[in-house]
């Protein structure tokens, strides 16, 4: 087995489904023990990438090495060392919590006892319900069980495809705390999410769109690279304002964020902006950009 510093090496992966280019020349490296995030909208190609890395799909071209094992040639050995949690809840709803965990433990030729220490912080929370059918668990508990099942064989690399989608905010927070804990055990974790706010919890993130990686940086770096000053103004339900800003040549970009509009100006200053003299000028406040602002900026650029 590989003991080098890199856990995953992906180079020039391409995958096409019909006339959709799901992955377009994707290359990156992930270090051992890294918590790596894939951020992007639905259909960006995240799941396809996961499936190729877990040896479930064959790429059209390019190569991927996970834990020192080629995902095509060494797939049989590779499948012993990875943990995978697909996007959809994929445990057996008609089996109890304990039966599910037991089944996955034996599937990987291990026992619950052998690796209990690793899953304990997570499994302890659902253990009171161990005789309940998995289908009757709440969304957050389902995810915890799925994570326990993906971990029970002590994988060296863990793949989590949108583990927090459809999970309540409290459970989401807990879930990420658990990932931190696993990282401290030396497990390499690749996680995808459509939630931008979760991105800051990763060591590094890759922004993905249309099968292409727009950038790979630490969250801080991505925010730092935002090229403009960002202003915020309250929208107060005035779609008129949005339209006005969009038509104004001094405005470079404007996007809706809930009740606010996030605006950048071509000259990076408010000076050239003159609103309609008949109406009071909107109040602009400068704010630090979020990951989402950066992502939207990168997306509109590409």
């Amino acid at each position: 087995m590989n003991t080098g510093k890199t856990a995953i090496v992906v180079s020039k992966l391409n995958k096409r489904f019909g006339n959709i280019q799901a992955l377009n020349d994707v290359s990156f490296e992930i270090e051992r023990g890294e918590l790596f995030g894939l951020i992007g909208p639905d259909g960006a190609g995240k799941t396809t990438l996961f499936r190729i890395l877990t040896s479930l799909l064959l790429a059209d071209s390019g190569s991927a090495v996970v834990d020192g094992l080629d995902v095509v040639n060494d797939y049989r050995e590779l499948r012993k060392h990875i943990g995978y949690m697909p996007g959809r809840f994929s445990l057996y709803p008609d089996l109890t919590v304990e039966e599910n965990l037991h089944f996955f433990a034996t599937l990987f030729n291990t026992t619950i006892q052998e690796n209990y220490r690793l899953v304990e912080p997570i499994y302890r929370q659902i253990e009171p319900f161990k005789n309940r059918r998995a289908g009757k668990l709440s969304g957050g508990m389902k995810q915890k069980l799925a994570l326990s099942c993906a971990l029970i064989h002590k994988p060296s690399v863990l793949f989590l495809d949108e583990p927090t989608t459809g999970v309540d905010p409290v459970s989401r927070k807990e879930f990420w705390e658990m990932l931190r804990l696993l990282k401290s055990e030396g497990i390499t974790i690749v996680v995808s999410t459509p939630y931008m706010d979760e991105a800051t919890r990763c060591d590094r993130i890759a922004l993905v769109q249309h099968g292409k990686i727009l950038s790979i940086e630490t969250p801080e770096q991505i925010v730092r690279q935002f090229p403009k000053k960002l202003y915020r103004t309250e929208m107060r339900n005035q779609l008129q304002l949005l339209k006005e800003l969009r038509e104004n040549p001094a405005v470079e970009s404007v996007f809706m964020f809930g009740e606010y509009l996030h605006v950048t100006f071509t000259d990076d200053t408010l000076a050239p902006y003159h609103s309609n003299p008949d109406r009071p000028s909107p109040v602009f406040t400068e704010i630090p950009p979020s990951i989402e602002d950066c992502f939207i900026h990168l997306m509109s650029k590409s």
Partner: protein, 367 residues
């Protein structure tokens, strides 16, 4: 091995915890046996009739000629009483007519002659239809004679129903139901069980684990194999004790034949699960692609002999056709093993081909 056993255990949990599949698996054989208890009428065409003619006189020749002329019968001649049993067991005739000595003389001089009709009543509906048709042809011939000679004649058919003297239709449909039930449980339920894993996404996790695909398949097959044997025993017990159909032949051979058929059906289920991705599609394909042809073309409901040649040809690829035919021979007619060698060989061949193809085609990856 532990991996495998744990997988099998999981499959049993799936079955036992799903009321629907339990109902299908356990109630289906009983319901079908009862449903098919109602008689099914069938029409016959081009049925093989053998004639054993000791008289070889003008009357018997004319009767044989008229049988031959009708669209129902294809007549062949045999020359020795010992051949009767043999051609029945080989399935070369469904009806045998035996004319005694001096048929024509008896008819002219005493005004009365008799002949024997022996029918294979392991298919009772067909047997009685055949006897009725043959009797009416005899009746027409008698009327012609009466017009010609202006005197009364009597031709007495003496009917013997072979293998199923009480003409029970149960004799006929029990083998059919066995074929249908085993096909349903093995093929349909196995394909659903595998496709369900694909549909719910658990197949993704299974494939990304170190378990060998062969084990996944075998683990899926074991419970249905076991349940099929339970059903087989249920059907046979129902047949013997409720419907009073005796098992005339060798029980061991019958069991071996059924195991072979179960393997064929399991492989078909596996093949279906490779082709489709949703449970609904699995039900449709196994329902339309397996159950319908099995019911209609296997000779269970309609006699194969009266089908148009195209459908007859189509029926030869159906495993159930050979299984049902062999079960009839073994169970109802009680023949020796040598008479079912052909069916055994054909089913073994189908099992080998299907199993090889479906194991080869099982995907170790998604898509």
């Amino acid at each position: 091995m532990k991996q495998f056993l744990s997988f099998v255990q999981k499959e049993f949990y799936h079955i036992f915890r799903d009321v629907r599949s339990m109902l299908i698996l356990l109630a289906m054989p009983i319901i079908q046996i009862i449903l098919f208890g109602f008689a099914i009428t069938t029409e016959v065409r081009n049925v093989q009739v053998a004639v054993l003619d000791f008289s070889k006189d003008i009357s018997t020749q004319q009767i044989i000629h008229r049988l031959q002329e009708s669209e129902y019968f294809t007549v062949s001649e045999i020359s020795h009483p010992d051949e009767i049993d043999r051609i029945f067991k080989k399935g070369q005739a469904n009806l045998v007519l035996v004319f005694g000595n001096h048929f024509h003389d008896n008819l002219l001089h005493t005004g009365e002659a008799s002949l024997q009709m022996i029918a294979d009543a392991s298919e009772p509906n067909q047997a009685s239809t055949l006897v009725n048709y043959a009797t009416s042809i005899l009746g027409l011939y008698r009327q012609e004679l009466m017009r010609e000679y202006q005197m009364p004649f009597q031709i007495r058919p003496e009917v013997r129903m072979l293998y199923n003297p009480q003409m029970k239709s149960a004799y006929y449909f029990v083998p059919g139901v066995m074929g249908l039930i085993l096909m349903l449980i093995c093929a349909m339920m196995t394909s659903i069980a595998i496709v369900r894993e694909k549909e719910t996404g658990t197949m993704e996790v299974l494939l990304a684990s170190p378990i060998r695909p062969l084990y996944i398949i075998l683990a899926k097959m074991v419970p249905y194999f076991t349940l099929s044997i339970v059903n087989l025993i249920t059907i046979l017990l129902l047949a013997v004790f409720v419907l009073k159909v005796p098992i005339a032949g060798n029980l061991v051979l019958l069991a071996l034949l059924s195991l072979l058929f179960i393997i064929v059906a399991l492989s078909l289920g596996l093949l279906i699960s490779n082709i489709v991705d949703t449970q609904v599609a699995a039900i449709l394909v196994s329902g339309m692609g397996l159950m319908m042809p099995t019911m209609i073309l296997s000779g269970m409901v309609f006699p194969i002999e009266s089908m148009p040649p195209v459908l007859q040809g189509l029926s030869t690829v159906l495993p159930a056709r050979w299984y049902i035919a062999a079960v009839k021979k073994l169970m109802v007619q009680g023949v020796d093993g040598v008479f079912v060698i052909k069916e055994f060989v054909l089913l073994a061949f189908m099992a080998a081909v299907l199993l090889a193809v479906s194991l080869r085609k099982f995907k170790i990856r998604l898509q």
